[in-house]
Amino acid sequence: MGFFVTTLIFLVVGIIASLCARICCNRGPSANLLHLTLIITATVCCWMMWAIVYLSQMKPLIVPILNESE
């Protein structure tokens, strides 16, 4: 799927989530800003974790070496 495509997917999911939050729980500008902040933080955290694991497997320096018994 590629790194950039999946990053784009994360971005789109984040935008959709913020729109949903704006539609469902619209409680004034300061509350909306809080919801937006939380969603952005969650998206960034999840994306970072995925990106780190993906990048580390792109050009691996070690490979799986199976056990004798298998």
């Binding site: 300061s30 809080l34 902040t37 969650a42 970072m48 694991v53 199976l66």
Partner: protein, 817 residues
């Protein structure tokens, strides 16, 4: 408090404390009680104690408080009585009108007197009943004894008469027949009957024997069932005894011994006919007493039932009144005794509501004069107030447990809502365990309404209070579990086929050189091919350690950026230029650079040794990098970054104290001081001076800045390393999980025996729940908490404020319980 700007950003809920103001209310005495009551309903003012130097007895409403205390005592007495009978007060029903305090006092007094009387009468009746029951036993047993003795005496008499011989050993010692035959000839024997506790009966017998020198005859008969002792009211095993004696002195001795042993004595007649008469009489009286006692209990039950229906209401009323009088005691009474002055903190948004409440109180109490509401200006630091809902309150409590935010500084709670469950999940990562945790917490959330009104145990209370935290923790755990590809430690190929294949079709080299990456990188998470291989741990350790560093540097940068927002908000440009910027430069030129190197190494697949690169960046920066070069120009960039880091340390340390000193001298040099505002708080006049001339000790400021700098510089290294606990706990979790799976479940499966399989499954479930779901959850919770409290918050948080604790009736519940 001076001007507080909005800074650069629009306001965000929960980010900073609500703006608070100090109010002064002047309330006429007749509407004071109602006013305080309405304010208590609102729950938005924290009153200051204006009578702090007075003792509790000197205060205005001390008598009222005593009355409330008396009523509370009476209510506690009722509650005890109800619990003894097994009644619980019914839930509050709003059907009955709430009586005034005076009426309630009278009513409670009457009820208490009645209840006490019923109890006393009941006890007396019960005691008589027990005595009569004992008497009945004595009549029965002693009667048996006398009858048997009489019949054996007659038998002996016949025998004696038939054996007309002299004295022999079989001559009965007790010549009862002679007593019956010749009453005038023999010495009259007296006897005493009664009951003695069984455990004391041996000692009783011995002492009787010794005291009377063996001149008594004691006969005991055991009573099968335990008897209720009239004095103590408990069930005791007793024996019926008959003791025969001769002489007045012996009688007195025996009486005294009976008293000492707590043996109850009862009169007994020798006459047979009278005995049976007595027994029927006693039985009759016993049944009478029983009905009377039962009637008494029913009456008490009804009384307690009636109390129980209104108990909660009365309880609430008394507690409310006590709280109102405590608050009224905090207000200072004006010289003319016509009005009370109150001071308190309240949020700015509540102004209208408070004014409305005061106005309503004036109307309802038919007072002539309206209350006066004014805002005071003061330099005191207001309490911190965050408006949280049931979702955010748990997270805010987590932050407050470390320290309550200073008034209007940035609240770490905002980011904690997401980063805390996230870091927990990084350490917990297993989507099977995450699902279990989610199910458990969904149970709590679904039955929220019911559980919140119940009284739960301590641990359940804490778990219930944190249900939303745990829910988020579980959701993130499912996500990180999918990324680590662990379902109870078993990986799945969910998203695409694994990227690794054998080098040749026969897979000869699989166990020596290993597989090869032939397909695209596994798109989401760790490739399932790694699980169970020999090189799994080196790969995962490298991945997780680097991930911990990257996440840690990101969170610490967020902390420093929050300190920038604080500096902007409080218009402290000194902090911006001489604290925020050097801190960012220092952290990022070293650990930010390390993070960049990690990413470059991953992207290029270089074999450079990052430890070597970082260490020799410091030790010999001018050396050639050779094999460890990750990008062209690396050496120059490293030298530049090193110089920047070195420069930022004195930049953090030196300018700020000197500039502060310059600022202070400038202010001090001005010959005009700002006029104190017209309305000052009553209390602050006393400590006005200390606010006016703030002490400025240059050496103190300098040492403070030095400590701050050293803490930051050394902390940069130690805090970054501290984030490695994310790696450590995640490794521990996955190892434990894999051990339980392989060594318990798979082992049990391998035996092909259904019983062993069932035992294995049970052990697996117990181990998973006990060790992984409970212990590991607590452990990861604790470590995520530490990372937030120390590594994240020490970049920007001061946390030396105090919490807003308004006078509110809703909070009374939590106080009392």
């Amino acid at each position: 408090m001076g001007e507080r700007g909005r800074g650069c950003c629009p306001p965000m809920d929960l980010m900073r404390s609500e703006p608070m103001q100090l109010l002064q209310l002047i309330i006429p005495v007749e509407s004071a009680h109602l006013a305080v009551s309405y304010i208590g309903d609102l729950g938005l003012i924290q009153f200051k104690d204006l009578n702090a130097e007075k003792s509790p007895f000197q205060r205005t409403y001390a008598i009222q408080i005593k009355r409330c205390g008396e009523m509370a005592r009476k209510l506690r007495f009722f509650r005890d009585q109800m619990s003894k009978v097994g009644l619980t007060p019914t839930a509050r029903s709003a059907t009955q009108a709430i009586t005034s305090l005076d009426d309630l006092e009278v009513k409670l007094g009457d009820l208490e007197a009645e209840l006490v009387e019923i109890n006393a009468n009941g006890e007396k009746l019960q005691r008589s009943y027990n005595e009569l029951a004992e008497y009945k036993l004595v009549l029965q047993k002693a009667g048996e004894f006398f009858n048997s003795a009489l019949s054996s005496a007659e038998a002996h008499h016949r025998e004696y008469a038939s054996n007309q011989g002299g004295e022999s050993l079989e001559t009965p010692l007790l010549s009862e027949q002679e007593t019956f035959a010749d009453p005038s000839k023999q010495v009259k024997l007296g006897f005493i009957t009664g009951l003695v506790p069984r455990d004391k009966s041996m000692a009783f017998e011995r002492i009787l024997f010794r005291a009377t020198r063996g001149n008594v005859f004691l006969k005991q008969a055991t009573v099968d069932e335990p008897v209720i002792d009239p004095v103590s009211g408990e069930k005791v095993e007793k024996n019926v005894f008959v003791v025969f004696f001769s002489g007045e002195r012996a009688k007195n001795k025996i009486l005294k011994i009976c008293e000492a042993f707590g043996a109850n004595r009862y009169a007994f007649t020798e006459d047979l006919s009278k005995q049976s008469q007595m027994i029927t009489e006693v039985s009759g009286r016993l049944s009478e007493l029983q009905t009377t006692i039962d009637a008494g209990l029913v009456h008490r039950g009804n009384l307690l039932q009636a109390i129980g229906e209104q108990f909660e209401q009365w309880n609430l009323l008394v507690r409310k009144e006590k709280a109102i009088y405590h608050t009224l005691n905090m207000l200072s009474i004006d010289v003319t005794k016509k009005c009370l002055v109150a001071e308190g903190w309240s949020p700015v948004f509540a102004t209208k509501e408070i004014q409305d409440a005061l106005h309503r109180a004036t109307l309802d109490s038919n007072s002539q004069v309206d209350s006066i509401f004014q805002v005071l200006h003061t330099r005191e630091m207001p309490p911190t107030y965050f408006r949280t809902n049931k979702f955010t309150s748990a997270f805010q409590e987590i932050v407050d447990a470390y320290g309550v935010a200073k008034y209007q500084e940035a609240n770490p709670g905002v980011f904690t809502i997401v980063t805390f469950p996230f870091l927990f999940a990084v350490m917990f990562g297993d989507w099977g365990h995450g699902i279990c945790l989610l199910l458990a917490t969904l149970y709590f959330i679904i039955r929220e309404k019911k559980l919140s009104s119940q009284k739960l145990g301590d641990i359940m209370e804490m778990t219930f209070g944190g249900r939303y935290v745990i829910m988020l923790m579980a959701l993130f755990s499912i996500y990180t579990g999918l990324i680590y590809n662990e379902f109870f430690s078993v990986p799945f190929e969910l998203f695409a086929p694994s990227a690794y294949v054998c080098r040749d079709p026969a897979c000869r080299d699989a166990t020596t050189v290993g597989l090869i990456k032939a397909r695209d990188t596994y798109p989401f998470g760790v490739d399932p091919a790694w699980h169970g291989t020999r090189s799994e741990l080196p790969f995962l350790n490298s991945l997780k350690m680097k991930m911990s560093i990257l996440l840690g540097v990101a969170q610490m940068n967020l902390g420093i950026i929050l300190s920038y927002f604080n500096a902007q908000f409080f218009k402290n440009s000194l902090n911006t230029w001489f604290q925020f910027i050097p801190q960012m430069i220092f952290l990022n030129s070293l650990f930010g650079y390390l993070s960049v190197l990690i990413i470059i190494k991953w992207c290029t697949g270089s074999k450079a040794d990052l430890y070597h690169v970082m260490i020799y960046m410091f030790l010999s920066p001018t050396d050639e990098l050779g094999e460890n070069e990750l990008f062209p120009g690396q050496k120059t960039i490293q030298i530049v970054l090193l110089l920047l880091a070195l420069v930022s340390v004195p930049w953090m340390l030196l300018p700020k104290p000197f500039l502060l000193k310059m600022q202070h001298d400038r202010h001090h040099g001005e010959s005009y001081a700002p006029l104190p505002d017209a309305e000052e708080s009553l209390q602050s006049e006393a400590n006005h001076d200390s606010h006016g001339h703030e002490e400025f000790e240059f050496s103190e400021i300098f040492v403070h800045q030095l400590i701050h700098t050293i803490e930051f510089v050394l902390g940069a290294v130690s805090n970054t390393a501290s984030y490695l606990r994310l790696w450590a706990l995640s490794l521990a979790h996955s190892e434990l999980s894999s051990v339980f799976y392989e060594k318990v479940l798979l082992l049990a499966w391998g035996y092909n025996n259904i019983i062993i399989l069932i035992v294995g499954i049970i052990i697996f479930i117990c181990a998973t729940v006990g060790v992984l779901l409970v212990m590991e959850t607590l452990s990861a919770f604790l470590h995520a908490l530490r990372l937030h409290w120390v590594e994240f918050q020490n970049k920007f948080y001061e946390g030396d404020g105090y919490k807003f604790y308004p006078f509110s009736f809703a909070l009374l519940d939590y106080e009392e319980e």
